[in-house]
Symmetry: C2
Subunit: 406 residues, 2 copies
């Protein structure tokens, strides 16, 4: 049984994801697809629009056979940490091959880029320091430093977001000496962060989220660019809760946390650096929405994503002290099963006795510092729901068994 | 100009408070009345129903000439701390005499009780320890220990709540070597914590709050037992915000704080003792209201008030470390002016140059660790308002000048 691994967020699952899923299966000749999916908080430092359970259903209907949660510590990390966490899970699940979407579209340039950077490490790092000193954000400085090297024509363009992720997947496989093979397919139809929906059947998730949050009849606007299952589940969620989850729902708690913390306490939060705590404290009282808060806090030195991730860590009270041992070797220590098809179940039964990591089916069963973060993230996410459903939502996370697609 | 000092909460100001104010002025022959009033959080560990500004207006209309805020560190403290903070402020304001309501009704038995306890300290403390060891709460054990002594007939009944407060006022005056004279008048019409409104024109504040929170037409129910000004201001508040402030409004934040804190962090909160943090953490996820949370947490050993105060400190993130230096000598370090009449202003102008403490008129002017707690308390209180008014409420506390009654 050949398996292909996908690393995803599905916020929400759209036609582009469906295309990627089907193409990955076809191109790798896989018998089953394993999706490692971020839970409640995503790499851009945002809460997911809908719960991990709805997104798991979307993934299963879209063709995934096993859906595994990427733990909070990795799902909200920078590309390198995100990639290492995901690869470690796919390795533990004995995945044969990963297949990621990229702007480059073929795998060799990724390997060349890793070699090239290893050979030119000193000059790369010198350029990186120079650009950082000029006030550029880390990702921008890294991209500029790389572009500034005398490249050999075989490297990828590291200013493209999917190339960056792919680069780190391939690098994580090398570093972890993983047996997983890497392949890639070209991204099609929409750029990663296109703000608009465009005219085609494929739009970016960013464009879809913007359309949903802006529109009067939000779901009508996205009908064309998502599969039926996504449309139906989003409609259910809208009927149940009125709106979709967003940072604005959680902003009162972020505001409360900041207003009741002193700079010394905030300095202990993971990713709080260079006196950012004073910047946050200075702006929080005036800002009456998360968006206006972020606009006040934003500078050239920090990307929006970097600051949003920091806010997620403030919200969940994730400290440097608790993250340090988890990221020393950024690998998962358990496999949290969110859902499976019949084929997925057969596969899991087959590899079960050789699994190196414990398979966690419900949260209440397992104790692990890495899982503590997932629990806190789930609790914070639930508090953003209207009061009436909050308590139920808090329980849901602890009692929901993996979703089965028959 | 003779001044009389009153120590109050006015939650809300009712006919009994009006009676006490007028009787105190009459009995002491005072020319003006100074009220030291708790701010947003009260001695029973609850948020005030309406803001300190509305309650200041009530106080001024009811006959007070100067309204001063009792800082958070004292207003949410046990009787001894509460009394010491209040007496230190009245002393700083050169008040001639305080006049408190009590079940005993005359001042000599209070002085006798202090003498008596000083003489029988050892046997009192031994009995206190015995009752504590039997699992009684501190106030209950203290009352039982006192009753168990062979008393001389001249002491007061220390199981009565107003006698306890009065006892600590008189004791604080002695300990602080204050020049303030103490007098008392009998409480009339309603017991301190009577849960019902009764038939008379005087009802307990507890009864009034219960009627307001329970009723369909809450203000109609209390019309008979509050002055016009209270009725009108409560009506305004109800129209503006729909309901009145209560623990339930702040419960989402308490829940969030507990769900994102570990036992070690909670152990640092002021008044967190004997592993109470584990008790709170165990119950918080299930409880969908503050009341049901408290019912789950309550035991014989801890009074409801004690636990509510602890929850206030969790909410405001008030730590043992920051309280220790403030309570070493529990005295105020500033005078926060909330309101004054013309007569009050004349008095303040007269004593201004001899004041031992700074007079603070707006929050933004002054820096003091004691005041930091007032600011955090104000911020937390404001977060309980509906989203639309929250930011305005946050600003209000920092920019509102003292209220003037002309």
């Amino acid at each position: 049984m050949k398996s292909v691994g996908l690393i995803v967020e599905y916020n929400p699952f759209h036609n582009g994801h469906y295309y990627h899923m089907q193409e990955s299966i076809k191109q790798t000749g896989a018998d089953l697809a394993i999706a490692v999916m971020s839970g409640y908080f995503l790499q851009r430092g945002e809460p997911a629009m809908v719960s991990k359970w709805l997104r798991t259903k979307m993934a299963l209907e879209g063709g995934a056979d096993i859906v595994i949660e990427l733990p909070y510590a990795f799902s909200t990390g920078k590309a390198e940490i995100f990639a290492n966490g995901a690869i470690s899970l796919l390795t533990a699940l004995q995945t044969d091959e990963i297949c990621f979407g990229s702007e480059a579209g073929s795998i060799e340039p990724f390997e060349h880029t890793i070699d090239f950077l290893a050979q030119h490490r000193e000059s790369y790092e010198e350029k990186l320091r120079t650009f950082m000193a000029e006030g550029y954000s880390f990702p921008k400085a890294a991209s500029l430093a790389f572009q500034g090297l005398d490249r050999n024509g075989k490297t990828i363009d590291l200013s493209k977001p999917n190339n960056i992720l792919g680069f780190h997947y391939v690098k994580a496989i090398l570093n972890q000496e993983s047996s997983v093979k890497a392949s890639t397919i070209p991204r099609t139809g929409a750029n990663f962060h296109d703000p608009d929906l465009g005219e085609q059947k494929i739009a970016s998730a960013t464009g879809i989220r913007n359309a949903i949050l802006a529109g009067n009849e939000p779901l009508k606007a996205i009908r064309r660019v998502v599969p039926d299952i996504t449309y139906n589940l989003l409609q259910e969620a809208q009927e149940a809760f009125g709106t979709f989850h967003s940072w604005e729902k959680l902003y009162p708690y972020l505001k409360y946390r900041l207003l009741t913390s002193n700079p010394q306490e905030l300095a202990q939060i993971y990713e709080m650096e260079e006196g950012l705590e004073y910047r946050l404290l200075k702006q929080i009282k005036q800002a009456d929405s998360f968006t206006s808060f972020m606009k006040q806090v934003k500078t050239k030195r920090y990307t929006w994503t970097r600051l949003q991730r920091l806010c997620v860590h403030v919200l969940t009270n994730t400290t440097k002290k608790e993250m340090a041992p988890l990221l020393e070797i950024p690998k998962a220590s358990y496999i949290r099963l969110l859902g499976m098809s019949e084929k997925g179940q057969t596969y899991l039964n087959r590899i079960k006795k050789n699994l190196e990591l414990p398979l966690v089916s419900t949260l209440s069963q397992h104790v692990d510092p890495l899982l503590d973060l997932d629990k806190r993230a789930a609790d914070c996410y639930a508090l953003g729901f209207p009061e009436a459903v909050r308590t139920g939502k808090l329980q849901e996370e602890y009692s929901t068994p993996p979703i089965r697609k028959l």
